[in-house]
Amino acid sequence: MYQYNKQDQTLIEERVSEFRGQTQRFLNGELGPDQFRALRLMNGLYVQTHAPMLRVAVPYGLLSSKQLRKLASVARDYDKGYCHFTTRQNVQYNWPELGRVPDLLGELATVQMHAIQTSGNCLRNTSSDHLAGICKDEIEDPRPYCEIIRQWTTLHPEFAFLPRKFKIAVSGATHDRAAVQFHDIGVYLVENEAGEIGFRILAGGGLGRTPIIGQTVRPFLEKQHLLSYLEAILRVYNLFGRRDNKYKARIKILVKETGLEKFTSMVEKEWLRIKDDMLLSNERIDEIKAQFAPPAYDATAKNDSSFDAHLAGNSAFVKWVKYNTVEHKVSGYRGAYVSLKAPDSPPGDITAEQLEAVADLADQYSFGEIRSTHRQNLVLADVKQVDLFTVWQQLDAFKLATPNIGTVTDMICCPGLDFCSLANAGSIGVAKEINEALDDLDYIHDIGDIKINMSGCMNGCAHQSVGHIGILGVDKHGEEWYQITLGGSSENEAAIGERLGPSVSKEQITATITTILDVYVKQRLEDEAFLETVKRVGLEPFKERVYANH
C-alpha cells in the first residue's frame, strides 16, 4: 500500500498544529462557534448528541496492521474502547473530548492517518472497491488513481469551500462494489475499442434526500487527463452550484437543473482550456502504481489439500467460507471478510481488542493489510486457503466470524438517535431487534442476498434509498416511525428503492421486515434473489400483506 514520503508526513503534521491553534483560539473565545464549526468540520469533527464525533479518513478503505493497532489504542485512550466503521469506509469515534482532539490527531499522524476533509463542504475521502487488486473481474487496480486523487484533493486551495460536500468513487472492476453511480463524481476504469484503458466519468450522482443516479459526462478519458477533468468539473460546480439552499446545493441538482448536455459543454470548455497544463505523466502514474504492486504471493499455495479436508469435516466452517470469503485472482488464496455484524453488536462497531486481533491476523496471514468496505465490514484480502481454517477460528473467538456477509443481517446502519443529533429515530436498536427476530442462520442463508440499509433521518448516511430494503427513520408527532422502500440497488443495475406505503411505528417495524421476507419466500421462483422477485412481482404483494390489518 501507499507509504507516505516526507512531504505527505509533513503535511499532516502541519495540519495537526494548525488545528491545535484553531481549537485553542476557540476555547479562548477568539474564534466564534460558526467559524470554528467550519474549520473543525474540515478536520472531521462534529458536535453530536453526547460529545464531539471525530471521523478519521481511511483513504479508499486501505489500512495497515500498524494503523489498526493505533486505532485501537486511540479507542482506549480517547474514547470508550471502541470505534465505528462508516459506509464510506472511514472510522468514527463517538466520545472524544474536544480539548484532546489535537493530541488524538497527533497520535494518528504518527501512523500516516488524519481526519482531513472527512466532513464539511469540501472534497471528501475518495472511496473504492474493497476487493481492488484481488478480484477476477478487474480491468485495472483503481487504487493508484485513488491515491492520485487523494493527493489532489488534499487541501486543494480552490475547492475548500464548496456549496456542499463532494464525494468521488473509483472502481476498476466490471462489477461495481463501490456505489460509483451514487457519487458526485464516479470514475470507472474502462477499456475502449482500441484496447486502451482510461476512465468513464460520471457526475451528479448522490444519495441523501434526493437520490439520483450519476450520468456519464465523458465516456472515455485518457489517463493523463484525470486531474484536469476533475478540476474542470469542480470549477464549474464551485462557481455555479447553488448556495441559496443547502438541500439543493449538491452537484446532482446543478446537473439536473442545468441539463446534462449544457453541464457537459461547460465542463468540456473549461477542460479544453486547462488540460495541457495539467497532464498526468506516465512516470507519475507508474511511480504510484509501484506502491500498489501485488504482494509476494506463494505460488505453491494452491497445492494445499487441508482446506478441502476441513470443509469436509466442519459444517460451520463451510458456511463461513461460503458467505464470508471471496474468490481471489491468485489460485490458492481467498479474501476473508471480518464481519462487524454480530447479532448483538451495533453494525460497524469494533472494539480495541477486536482491532488488535484483526491486526495480528493481518500480520500473520494477509501481508499486514486490511480493507474496510462500504457495507461496514473489514476484509483480509490475501489469505492462503491453508490458513483459512485458523483465521476462521481466531475470528470466531473474537465474535468476528458471523457467517452473514451479503445476507439480511449484514445490515448497513447509521448511528441514529443513539449518537446523532440530526436523527428522527433510532437505528441501532431496530437493527438489534431485527437480528433477534432472524436468529435462524439456515433461514438467513436460504433467503440469501438481501441488503437492508437503515438511516435515522433523511440525510441517509446509511444509503437506505439504495438498499434492497430501505428503512428510513421519520418523526411523527415526536414519535419514531419508519418508512420502507423496496428494490433499491447501488451496484451495476443502480436503482432507487420505491416507497412501500405509509410509514410504520417502532413497534411494527421488525414484524414488517419479517413479513416482507415472508412474502418474498412465497413469491420467489426457484433460486430467484430478493431483488429479482421485487422487480418481477412489483410492490403489490408486499403491500397487501404489510398493510393487511391497517
Partner: protein, 151 residues
C-alpha cells in the same frame, strides 16, 4: 488602515464607493462590477486609480478586456464560506492573465489566507486589526502543496 500586500504590511489607499454615492474626483477607488461596466469611461478619466469590487455571484467574463486598466480587484466575502471567489481569483490569474492586485475583503477568516494566496490573492484587508498578525502567520501553515495552482 493597514493591509497585507505581498506579505508586507502597508497603508491602504483604496476606498470603495457604493453605487448610490457620486464618484469623488480624486483618490483610488473601487466600485461594483455593474458600475464599472456602466461608467468605465468616466472612471478612467479621473485623476485617481480605479478598481472593481467583485461579489461571489458576479460574472467576471465581461471584465476580461478591461483588466489592464484596473488597479485592484477586490473579492468581497459576504460570508467566509462562499468559495466562488476562490475560483474567480484563479480564473482572473490563469485564464485572463490579470497581473494586478487581487485583494480579499469582507467577512473571511485568517485561516483562509493560505488557500487564498494559492489561488492568486496577494492582498488582504481585515476589519479586525487582530486578524492581520494571525493572517501573516497562517500563510506559513503549510509548506507542502499537492496541486499545481497559481502559486
Amino acid at each position: 488602515m493597514q493591509i497585507i500586500k505581498d506579505r508586507q504590511l502597508l497603508e491602504n489607499t483604496w476606498t470603495f464607493i457604493a453605487d448610490d454615492i457620486p464618484l469623488p474626483e480624486n483618490g483610488d477607488i473601487t466600485v461594483t462590477l455593474a458600475r464599472w461596466l456602466a461608467d468605465k469611461e468616466q472612471l478612467l478619466k479621473r485623476s485617481g486609480q480605479a478598481g472593481v469590487r467583485l461579489n461571489p455571484s458576479d460574472q467576471i467574463e465581461p471584465l476580461a478586456g478591461d483588466l489592464s486598466n484596473i488597479g485592484v480587484i477586490e473579492l468581497n466575502f459576504p460570508i467566509f464560506g462562499d468559495g466562488r471567489l476562490f475560483s474567480q481569483a484563479r480564473l482572473l490569474r490563469s485564464r485572463d492573465g490579470y497581473q494586478g492586485e487581487i485583494r480579499a475583503v469582507g467577512d473571511y477568516l485568517p485561516d483562509q489566507v493560505f488557500y487564498l494566496s494559492r489561488v492568486g490573492v496577494n492582498a488582504f484587508e481585515f476589519a479586525d486589526p487582530n486578524h492581520i498578525q494571525e493572517a501573516l502567520a497562517a500563510m506559513n501553515n503549510f509548506s507542502v502543496r499537492y496541486q499545481a495552482s497559481t502559486n
